[in-house]
């Protein structure tokens, strides 16, 4: 059967999300491997940097436009996208594994009679079959699998797949005004959290654990994060103790993250924590206890006092950045 690929792209408040380029690049690569057509779809109002998408794809990008689509509505989004899939007979549909993607993809899977898999970190064409890899048990193991269904929906973890500018890209953006939206479930407002950056989206994360001794010492973590342009993370122990909010929790029952650099401060490395961050590209551990399990997976470690080392590290980073 002739495949046809659709990349579902995401914007927030009129700005394309970085993961959209990753989704589009993967879709473009798969369309070459499968020698098939590929399109992108995005919903929103005005999207300021939308023409950036043209660099990544050979194919059409359809922008369904309505001022009310600027913010997410599960009911409206799922209807528009699934109608588009059904009308144009897409067979492979790629979403980002973001808060929006993971909410939307399963609704669309049912509406389009597709099988679905989420949070894929690898997709390859092997013997004419798409073979997917996904972490399970919070990353303590991985499964390789096939999706045996004419139509496949899957989501990809952000920060894993490369956004590759395609020299031969010649896509065009086609705007389609839509009306009569189904707003039976809709977002009415957005509350930004106080922290600057979210651990799920950050390139660098500085995390603190029980070794920080108390919530009053987390300013050290925040200052280092600030110097690095990083997000603040936390271990489950300090979240359960009420020192830090749950949105910062990294690990099983928190967020699974794969940043470029993860700096663990005063974190011993419980199995649940390691599961959530061990796929980070580089890991730095700062901990007094040289036998802490975190050192088993760290690329670089300092087995010393966090209260001396973190401020010194912050100073050193500021020095090189200035």
């Amino acid at each position: 059967m002739q495949e046809k690929i659709l990349a579902v792209l995401e914007q927030r408040e009129g700005q394309l999300k970085k993961v959209s380029y990753e989704v589009l690049s993967l879709a473009n690569r798969l369309s070459k491997q499968l020698a098939c057509e590929c399109e992108g779809v995005i919903l929103g109002d005005e999207i300021s940097n939308i023409t950036e998408l043209n660099k990544y794809l050979s194919g059409r990008i359809v922008h369904f436009k309505n001022s009310q689509l600027n913010i997410y509505s599960p009911s409206a989004y799922s209807k528009i996208i699934s109608n588009y899939i059904n009308e144009n007979q897409f067979t492979v549909i790629v979403f980002p594994n973001t808060a929006l993607g993971i909410d939307l993809a399963p609704r669309i899977a049912i509406k389009t009679n597709s099988a679905i898999a989420t949070d894929c970190i690898k997709v390859d064409l092997i013997d004419d079959n798409l073979v997917f890899t996904k972490p399970v048990y919070a990353g303590k193991s991985l499964i390789n699998f096939k999706i045996n269904s004419e139509r496949k929906v899957f989501t990809i973890r952000p920060n894993i797949f490369k956004a590759e500018i395609n020299e031969a890209a010649n896509s065009s953006i086609e705007v389609r005004e839509v009306s009569d939206l189904d707003l039976s479930t809709k977002v009415t407002s957005y509350k930004k959290s106080e922290g600057k950056l979210d651990v799920a989206e950050a390139d660098i994360i500085v995390s603190g654990g029980r070794g920080m001794k108390g919530p009053e010492n987390f300013h050290l973590i925040e200052e280092l994060a600030e110097a690095l342009g990083a997000a603040v993370g936390a271990s489950r122990a300090v979240v359960d103790a009420g020192w830090r909010p749950h949105r910062e929790q990294v690990g099983q029952t928190g967020k699974t993250v794969s940043p470029t650099l993860y700096i663990a401060c005063g974190i011993s490395g419980a199995i649940q924590h390691l599961a959530g961050m061990s796929s980070s590209k580089y890991i730095v551990a700062i901990n007094k206890d040289k036998d802490a399990p975190i050192f088993n997976i760290a690329d670089y470690g300092i087995a010393g006092d966090v209260f001396e080392i973190i401020p010194a590290l912050t100073q050193e980073i500021k020095k090189i950045k200035s």
Partner: protein, 250 residues
């Protein structure tokens, strides 16, 4: 009204994973199973909703699994759930098959408010609640950290990257719960005794062929321990040099 809560039976998060001999699943030998941690928030919210609605409202848990899941179901009953359904299978169904079985049971219970944990900590798919809602034609709000149900109206806050979305919808609804929504209560001794007398309805279920075909389960590539750069502040410049020149990450 019956408030439904879907509960999974999963390996304890402290479990060290070993792969089974056929390399398609985990080796369950010696593994302790628990209530899926996110389902504890779903159970608590179901109980709170029942308390608020009062009258003849009651709570019913639904679990897909084999006989061993009864242990987890008893825990849910001990926490305060009124009755339970076990949809029995020895197979390892995929998310859509699980959702189909749950949707059918929810329909027969005629529940208009359904709670799920936002994901099970085994396969970590995070979609069964949304799939079930879609199959039922119910509204759905996922990853909820704050919830108000007034009559038919539902206002929830869901966690997203860097903040929260306030979402409005109506009954019938599926809510998937995230840590932070509530403080789950523990079973009391009285609850544990009462649970022994509560009813678990068992139903055999049969699945169509699963669409997800597992080729192989593997452990992640093990990371080589790196180096300890030093034991005090004198190591900081060297650490920064390594991050800049060797790792090239800052």
């Amino acid at each position: 009204m019956k408030i439904a809560v879907c509960v999974s039976h999963v390996p304890d998060t402290a479990t060290k994973i070993k792969i089974s001999q056929d390399r398609k699943a985990i080796d369950q030998t010696g593994v302790t199973f628990i209530i899926n941690p996110y389902d504890e928030f779903a159970i608590e919210e179901a109980l709170k909703t029942k308390e608020k609605l009062g009258g003849d409202s009651s709570t019913c848990s639904i679990t897909v699994g084999d006989d061993s899941a009864k242990e987890t179901i008893r825990k849910a009953l001990a926490i305060g759930i009124d009755e339970a359904v076990l949809l029995k299978t020895d197979k390892n169904p995929d998310s859509i098959n699980i959702a189909k079985a749950l949707a059918e049971e929810i329909k027969s219970l005629d529940s208009k408010i359904v709670f799920f944990g936002k994901q099970s900590v085994d396969y970590d798919s995070g979609i069964v609640g949304q799939l079930t809602a879609e199959l039922l034609g119910y509204n759905c709000i996922s990853v909820v950290v704050d919830l108000k149900i007034e009559g038919n109206k539902v206002i929830a806050e869901r966690e997203i990257e860097g903040g929260r979305e306030v979402v409005e919808s109506e009954l019938p609804i599926v809510i998937t719960t995230q840590k932070g929504l509530n403080e789950p209560r523990y079973p009391t001794l009285k609850g544990i005794m009462a649970a022994k007398k509560k009813n678990i309805t068992e139903k055999e279920i049969h699945f169509e062929q699963t669409s997800i075909e597992i080729i192989e389960m593997n452990l992640p590539p093990s990371k080589q321990p790196g180096r300890i750069v030093g034991t005090d502040v004198s190591a900081v410049p060297e650490l920064v040099r390594l991050l800049r020149e060797e790792a090239k990450v800052i």
